[in-house]
């Protein structure tokens, strides 16, 4: 705040010739060193100079991979969500039942103030994570696979044990994703009997509720807390901050400091993709995170000297999803008919030509993950729904529709027409929606692509069941539970609470897809996809194949949505100032560029 006041006072003086103010530092930052200043964007959030240096604050000035470190960074692995790059944890072991995780801390790990990172810091970090709730840190009676015990083995080794009850196969991933915080800073925020409160809160009595409320209140306090000065165990330390950028300097105490190329990092503020593209076309960024970029902008960016693309795996798929409350989408034949009538290849070329690849099958997973999980023979058994007008029309007829003067009519004599909703600002979805509308209108189904004012409106109204059809991101891997929960989770009526799965009717409790609770799948039998999905969250990864085959077949036949394209992770880098960027398909591409540096990438360009 003081910095800001000084800045403004000085700035106003330029225009208004105002008098001097006291307390402003006249000193300039140190001159640049050989590693230079690396300029990029933090994809996680914009810069907020008022926010604390706290990774749990919504827009906190702790940047993952730079001055905020988890125990480990999740790899973008095709199928195994438990693959990680080391962070503060040098290594880890998991017990055979997955209930115990033992962490070995990097022996050379130190905070930027020179003190070592110890097991006490990790235990404090787990306490802070509990105050924020969620994942394995939920303090809810009967919650699945929550953290039970934290045991310090020695100064550099710590053990995490799941609470008794159902297993959670994301336990390791959740523990490793935990932010590591200094006890010297955050310890004072926690009451001495914090761990007793955690134990008390797991019960069902009034006293347990009171303990949970205390922890929730503590969570609010901690979310707004931040040290005056950054204490970082990462490769960088926050040096200065203004509303348009954050400057971080190299942390000499970082355990892997030798690998870090740049001396400083500048993270620029942004409010939308356009700003990132502006920076890129002005040649002001060394790297930029993934944004869905229109072709003409890609061309402009690539014209900038030194600019090029890095591409890799993206575990995300764009799908046209139906609200089955709206007739005739309650008929599976109709959904299948549309799959035959829509040329997905054309949709992808128009909607996502640069960072998309047409989805060959609708399975609920991206194509490569489906092949890896269930194998080529099983994938080849899935219906690709290649464009086939005759099959589409036959299915519509089978569903009771009739064709009259080139237009499809419902059984009640009304024309088959619907609105396909897309959010304003999502240029790829808007273009794709218009193309689908055009294709289906040509096939005799009058479809109008309409846009919601913005994504907030879209999210709210789609959840309220106001749209008959719209775009939806699915196949969010590598966790197959996460992928299938997009189709068979809360949006389709299934929710798990206290270790029990329940299903709500279409239109109730956020169930806007409104699919059947069970369906008979050819050659497999009657399946409950919500139940199968829930099982995926608990079963060991190596036993999941059969369940995934069932879910892929269910999704392919029932078509709650039609997968249009699988995204490709496209990132822009500029090699004018730095070189040695990660190769295409690196498992680090989804991670921040601070993590790339920790892996030895991004080095100052050698002068010829």
């Amino acid at each position: 705040m003081k910095r800001s006041v000084c800045a403004i006072a000085a700035a106003l003086a330029i225009t208004l010739a105002a008098g001097a103010t006291a307390g402003c530092s006249p000193s300039k930052p140190e001159a640049k060193k050989s590693g230079g200043t690396f300029t990029s964007i933090d994809a996680n959030h914009a810069i907020d100079p008022q926010a604390p240096i706290n990774p749990y604050a919504g827009k906190g000035n702790a940047f993952s991979g730079y001055n905020a470190m988890p125990l480990a960074f999740a790899k973008n692995h095709l199928t195994d969500h438990n693959q990680h790059f080391p962070g503060i944890a040098e290594s880890w072991t998991v017990s055979s039942d997955g209930a115990e995780v033992t962490i070995n801390i990097q022996p050379k790990a130190k905070w930027s103030d020179g003190t070592p990172v110890t097991s006490e810091d990790i235990k404090t970090s787990a306490a802070v994570a509990f105050s924020q709730g969620g994942s394995v840190f939920a303090i809810t009676p009967g919650s699945t696979g929550a953290l039970g015990e934290v045991t310090i083995v020695n100064e550099k080794t710590i053990k995490f044990t799941q609470a008794p009850g159902a297993r959670n196969n994301t336990f390791l991933r959740s523990i490793l994703a935990m932010w590591v915080l200094p006890k010297s800073v955050y310890g004072s925020q926690l009451p001495a009997d914090f761990w007793d409160k955690i134990k008390a809160g797991a019960g069902t009595t009034d006293a347990a509720k009171a303990a949970r409320d205390e922890i929730t209140a503590l969570g609010k306090k901690i979310i707004t807390f931040g040290p005056q000065k950054d204490v970082s165990a990462g490769p960088f330390v926050l040096e200065s901050l203004n509303a348009s950028e954050a400057i971080l300097t190299k942390n000499p105490n970082f355990f892997n400091a030798d690998k870090i190329g740049p001396d400083k990092v500048r993270l620029r503020n942004y409010t939308g993709n356009e700003q990132i593209w502006n920076y890129l076309t002005a040649g002001e960024l060394d790297t930029a995170p993934y944004t869905s970029t229109p072709t003409n902008v890609v061309e402009q960016i690539l014209k900038v000297p030194g600019s090029r693309k890095i591409t890799g795996l993206s575990q995300v798929s764009a799908a046209l999803v139906f609200n089955q409350k709206y007739a005739p989408f309650d008929r599976v034949e109709v959904r299948q008919a549309l799959a035959y009538l829509i040329d997905r290849s054309e949709v992808q070329k128009i909607g996502e030509p640069d960072s998309g690849k047409v989805a060959e099958h609708t399975s609920g997973l991206i194509e490569d993950a489906a092949k890896q999980w269930i194998g080529d023979p099983e994938v080849s058994k899935l219906n690709p729904y290649n464009v086939d007008k005759a099959k589409g029309e036959a299915l519509l007829t089978q569903a009771g529709l009739t064709k009259k003067d080139g237009k499809w009519m419902l059984a009640n004599g009304q024309p088959f027409t619907f609105k396909l909703q897309v959010p304003n600002g999502f240029s790829d979805w808007v273009a794709a929606g218009k193309n689908i509308a055009s294709q289906l209108t040509n096939a005799g189904i009058a479809v109008e692509a309409t846009t919601s004012a913005d994504y907030a409106v879209y999210q709210k109204e789609i959840a309220e069941g106001k749209y008959a059809a719209g775009f939806w991101l699915i196949a969010l891997g590598p966790s197959t539970y996460n992928a299938y929960a997009r189709l068979y989770g809360g949006a389709n009526g299934w929710s798990a609470f206290g270790g029990k799965l329940s299903h709500k009717l279409a239109g109730e409790g956020g169930n806007w897809i409104g699919g059947a609770e069970t369906a008979n799948i050819a050659g497999v039998g009657t399946l409950n996809p919500g139940e199968l999905t829930y099982q995926l969250s608990q079963m060991p990864v190596d036993q999941a194949k059969e369940t995934i085959i069932k879910l892929a077949k269910y999704t392919n036949e029932q078509l709650p949505g039609i997968q249009m394209w699988n995204y490709i992770n496209v990132q822009f880098v500029n090699s004018t100032r730095y070189e040695n960027f990660p190769p295409d398909n690196c498992e680090c591409l989804r991670l921040t560029h601070g993590v790339w540096m920790q892996l030895g990438y991004i080095q100052p360009k050698k002068q010829p």
Binding site: I8, A10, A11, K28, S244, E245, R268, N269, A456
Partner: protein, 333 residues
């Protein structure tokens, strides 16, 4: 003096009533907007395994109001907070007081818009006088046409044009930001001020270019009407110098523009949303834009409150100022 104080008291009473009315109206208007981030947060906490009660309690603690609480209760809490000068906490930047964010962004907007207004005012008034005095020849016509054209071009078009020319075609200026934190630290020294000026020139120019035409046309019209007044003829007959006659002319012609200028200062706090966005200039305009996108109710309410209060205060000041600079008004009151 007594009448002035009564006038001031009347203005303040009406101003406070107006602020309350606008605050109430915007409070409910904002909540009519579709999209609710508090509800999204509540559902996120449920999805993370919290019970509905825990999620509700967690959301209420973070944002200061219960997601399913009645709107009138939220309104009451908001007004009570305002009475204690508490604008609430941001929904988007969890837990950050709205006042911190608004007052953190405000000075940059003041710098940008104020410098833009002053530059455009000085240029517009100067050229307006020339356009009026030379209204019969090509100089006067050219200035009037240029003023009309630029007055009709939206500021964002000029902003995009300047960006394309001076950050892409010729990379003379940065494409965004307020100063280069890697080169200068905030302080009261030439390098820092020069860097701030360097970052402000393009957005302020866009603002000035888009608005000087209005001043030019208003000044031209005002000068033209004063030129026909008897007191100027009398001054000429009395043998006053040309400079003295120009001073008579300018002082009388500029009076109506001062009122508009004072009101413009009130609009400073509204920011220049499009210009700030194009130049990624983190002032109030961009804060308001981002808070609308994120449905940050508290931030929107805080921003609107500041804009309303600023406009009303500027109007009061304009009214008082007018009586100070125009003796005729002072005598009437």
């Amino acid at each position: 003096m007594k009448s002035l104080l009564w006038r001031l008291a009347g203005h303040l009473t009406r101003g406070l009533a107006m602020i309350w009315a606008v605050t109430t109206f915007t409070f409910f208007l904002i909540r009519l907007m579709p999209g609710d981030p508090v509800q999204v947060q509540y559902e996120r906490l449920i999805a993370l395994g919290m019970s509905p009660e825990q999620a509700e309690s967690g959301t209420a603690m973070t944002y200061g109001f219960v997601p399913h609480g009645p709107v009138w209760q939220q309104y009451l809490d908001y007004i009570v907070g305002l009475a204690h000068l508490d604008l609430g906490v941001s929904v988007d930047s969890q837990g950050i007081p709205v006042a911190d964010r608004v007052f953190g962004a405000m000075p940059w907007t003041v710098l940008l818009v104020l410098s833009g207004i002053l530059v455009s005012f000085l240029i517009g008034v100067g050229l307006g006088v020339v356009a009026a005095l030379k209204r019969g020849n090509v100089v006067g016509h050219s200035l009037s046409i240029a003023g009309s054209l630029l007055h009709g071009v939206p500021p964002f078009v000029i902003g995009i044009l300047l960006t394309a020319l001076f950050t892409r075609q010729w990379r003379w200026f940065p494409s965004g930001g307020i100063y280069d934190a890697d080169l200068v630290a905030p302080g009261f020294y030439a390098d820092f001020m020069a860097d701030v000026a360097y970052h402000t020139i393009l957005p302020a120019s866009a603002f000035a270019l888009a608005s000087y035409g209005g001043w030019l046309l208003a000044m031209r019209s005002s000068v033209a009407s004063v030129l026909g007044d008897d007191f100027l003829l009398a001054a000429e007959l009395r043998g006053l110098t040309r400079w003295m006659r120009f001073r008579y002319l300018a002082r009388n012609a500029i009076l109506p523009l001062f009122t508009v200028l004072a009101i413009s200062f009130g609009l400073v706090f509204g920011g220049a949303i499009f210009i700030e966005r194009i130049f990624n200039y983190p002032g109030l305009g961009m804060l308001l834009f981002a808070s609308i996108g994120a449905r940050d109710f508290s931030m929107m309410s805080g921003s609107f409150l500041l804009i309303t209060a600023a406009v009303i205060i500027a109007n009061i000041l304009a009214d008082l100022l007018y009586s100070v600079i125009d003796p005729r008004v002072r005598r009437q009151t």
